[in-house]
């Protein structure tokens, strides 16, 4: 007995939409990062579900690389955040408009 592929796809879409809502509404960059992690996880879930459906290991391979890229992205992104905080003492993304024309 097994369950339809669609359930995993719809769940993945729900998690991805939550990530979109988080990225667009939050002002704190750490919370924006966490919403991006939510979106990456949603995509990973659909990759694995499709890979399982097709009997192809490619979905799981891509997921491993997405995790490696996410780890690199988080460590550099949070490093940038710390560097910003050292110079500006504020990390609200609406205040960081020094490059605005």
């Amino acid at each position: 007995m097994s369950i339809p592929l669609n359930y995993y796809i719809v769940l993945s879409m729900i998690l991805f939409s939550l990530g979109i809502a988080g990225v667009t509404t939050r002002r704190n960059p750490i919370l924006i990062f966490m919403s991006i992690e939510l979106m990456l996880n949603a995509v990973n879930l659909s990759l694995i579900a499709f890979g399982r459906y097709l009997g192809d290991a490619g979905g799981q391979m891509l997921t491993i690389f997405v995790m490696a890229v996410a780890a690199a992205e988080v460590s550099v992104g949070l490093g940038i955040l710390i560097a910003i905080f050292r110079t500006k003492d504020n990390v609200d993304v609406d205040v960081l408009n020094g490059l605005k024309g």
Partner: protein
């Protein structure tokens, strides 16, 4: 109809972790305190690991717990405490009217994509557990056989991953490490 599929073993597992993932995902988006949002994200990552298990991706479920819920979330919590945002920034987390637009567009996107998925091929079932054998089963051995196979493209990506991690190490140390010469970096 297909809702009966949720009463099987895999269906119950899916239901449990899906509800946990959605509930904790909502908490990540709406909670004001960054620490609480981070801990909700840990629950979300654990639930997604459970969903990986229900899809026979055993090794990836382990990696999800070790790398995401273990290492990445620890880094998030350290930075939250480093910037001391437990108390500050509490009442500035939302952007007023734009919040409504953002939430409705997110709901619209999710609804549209879900409708496409459900309308397209409503009754495509995942293969049963007994059908999943060999490398697609996602055991440590199966993953290794595909990942390090010189006839498949993943080996190339694996070697370049090391360059990515090297760049991440150097970038993070340069950005956040202590200044070597404090007088030089006054720019």
């Amino acid at each position: 109809m297909t809702l009966q599929a949720l009463l099987s073993g895999q269906g119950l597992m899916f239901l449990f972790f899906a509800v946990a993932a959605i509930a904790s995902g909502i908490l990540v988006v709406i909670l004001q305190n960054p620490l609480r949002a981070a801990l909700s994200l840990v629950i979300n990552l654990f639930s997604v690991a459970g969903l990986y298990l229900s899809l026979n991706a055993y090794f990836l479920a382990t990696v999800q717990v070790i790398v995401y819920a273990g290492a990445i979330m620890v880094l998030f919590l350290f930075v939250i405490m480093l910037l001391n945002m437990g108390q500050a920034n509490l009442n500035t987390s939302y952007r007023g009217v734009r919040t409504i637009i953002a939430f409705s567009s997110a709901i619209g996107f999710g609804g549209l994509m879900s409708a496409v998925a459900l309308k397209g091929q409503p009754n495509v079932m995942l293969p049963a557990d007994a059908m999943v054998t060999g490398s697609s089963a996602g055991s440590v051995e199966g993953i290794g056989k595909v990942l390090y196979n010189p006839n498949l493209p993943w080996l190339f990506a694996f070697e370049w991953t090391s360059f990515l991690l090297l760049v991440a190490v150097i970038g993070a140390v340069v950005l956040a490490g202590k200044r070597q010469q404090p007088s030089e970096d006054k720019a």
